[in-house]
Amino acid sequence: MEPILELRALVKHFPNQRAVDGISLTIPRGGFYSLLGPSGCGKTTTLRLIAGFEQPTSGDVLLDGVVVNEQRPYQRNVSTVFQNYALFPHLTAAENIAFGLKRKNQPDIARRVREALELVRLTGKESRYPAQLSGGERQRVALARSLVLQPDVLLLDEPLAALDPKLRKQMRLELKEMQRRVGITFLLVTHDQEEALSMSDQLAVMNAGAIEQVGTPQDVYLRPSTRFVAGFLGAVNWIDGVGLRPEVTRISRTLPTNGARFRPATVTGSVFLGNCVHVLARLESGEDAVAEIPRSNGTYHSGEAIHVCWNPSDEMIFP
């Protein structure tokens, strides 16, 4: 079976910027994928190239095995959920959802709109205008509007950025559940690594217009292939050129005896985070490290002499 979406050596140059600098990516059918990266890395541009709002400088976009470079957005079977939702203010929720169906002259519009509203749990709000809906409700209308067209791929541009933190966590689960239910391939673009890790089956980490690593959340977090990926996916302690996550970095007052590696250090501070404690230490070699330890391990005071230790198997090594 062909991948539903394929990018081949995709390049997009703007007059003063090389937004996308040679990207190749294959996305199989059905599943939740993410493009993760800092602002300016080209992830949104990539999304727009797939949707058809930009034309590639070189390279190809293939949907279902067909090169679609020349196709306008309305000719491609992908749909986008915009960051600001882009709901039509002069139409009700139901009319927004029906918009695409009407343009393509599809039959049975009323029933499909009803089903879409049920899918996003907005039944009863179909006659409301966007201005009368909450942020979360507007997002669901945007989702329904795109999903009702049954696109090959659903593109989501930072869909959770505009929501408040509590709602965001809830929506992550809902989106993941929705994707499972409808079976359509979701491609999400975000700068929030927690979002990407928690929702994706696979994700691609982007930086400065190029892909640094593709893999499962476990792959990119535990076995990052570059320093950038390591640093972007979470905090890193750099000791002797080796990377260590704070949660595998431990503090000990005595020398470890179980084969762990260690370095002498001085405690420079301690931060209580509620669910754990971060102990900040400066190694004799001058590097700073943060160790994430459980509350129960006792308190460490500034100036204390301790050892920073870790298991060799937790090391992240880069060429």
């Binding site: 058809g52 343009r103 509007r145 795109s146």
Partner: protein, 252 residues
């Protein structure tokens, strides 16, 4: 400073509005002299009995409506096109047409029409006035619509394309409805500017296409008459109402 500024504002507003208010008040004066001699609606009755006034008003209405329709359509499409991608030449021409002194516009259009008489079988008349009015009112429409477009998010049109609409359909079903209040406001503005014009109209009007401003001007030139007061009061009320409507519409 605030109280001083407030008093000052009252004075300036008085300067701006009192003359016309007085004019309107004296339209109800029974006598034709500037001494109040009792309330009367006689001058208003005189308006409707004056054939020239009635005909010229009708001409003004026809010209204004036709010119407004043409310039609103052309101006709206132009503002939208320029919003997609600007054109220094077109924008510059529109701005220039706004600041060009009316007399210069008037004689230029007259020169154009005179020159065209050689090739086309027509003379000065309602049609030349209508064309002239379209000429100077397009810029007003473009300004109003352009201002409205500045607050319109391009992502709405992108969403429309994304959902299967062609570029034309995106304009028709998404952008145009959003622009409607602005289009109405622009049309009302064009209507007012057209109805009120004297200078350009007087240069390109034919013998049988007199407009209301032209008649008022002639009457004012001959000497004052309370009939002008009455007409003025009516014009102020009608135009004032149009302004209010326009503001209401723009707020939606």
């Amino acid at each position: 400073m605030k109280r001083g500024l407030g008093l000052y504002a009252v004075a300036v507003y008085a300067f701006l509005h009192v003359p016309v208010v007085i004019l309107a008040l004296f339209s109800f004066n029974a006598s034709r002299f500037t001494v109040w001699q009792g309330f009367s609606l006689g001058w208003y009755r005189a308006i409707f009995q004056n054939r020239q006034l009635m005909e010229s008003t009708w001409n003004s209405v026809i010209i204004a409506v036709v010119a407004t329709i043409l310039s609103t359509i052309a101006g709206t499409l132009c503002a939208y096109g320029l919003w997609k991608r600007g054109s220094a030449l077109l924008s510059g021409s529109l701005y220039l047409s706004l600041v060009t002194p009316e007399i210069v516009m008037g004689i230029s259009l007259l020169a154009l029409f005179q020159w065209s008489f050689r090739w086309l079988q027509w003379r000065l008349g309602l049609h030349t006035v209508i064309l002239a009015h379209v000429a100077f009112s397009i810029a007003y429409v473009v300004i109003v619509i352009a201002a409205r477009l500045r607050t319109f998010s391009p992502s709405l049109e992108e969403a429309a394309l994304d959902l299967g609409a062609t570029e034309w359909q995106a304009f028709r079903y998404v952008t145009l409805p959003a622009l409607l209040p602005g289009i109405i406001a622009a049309a009302l503005l064009a209507l007012t500017v057209s109805f009120d014009d004297y200078v350009i109209t007087s240069m390109v009007a034919g013998v049988d296409s007199e407009t209301l401003p032209m008649v008022i001007y002639a009457m004012a030139r001959r000497g004052a008459s309370p009939v002008i007061n009455a007409i003025s009061a009516l014009i102020v009320v009608v135009f004032g109402t149009l302004v209010l409507i326009s503001e209401r519409v723009q707020k939606s």
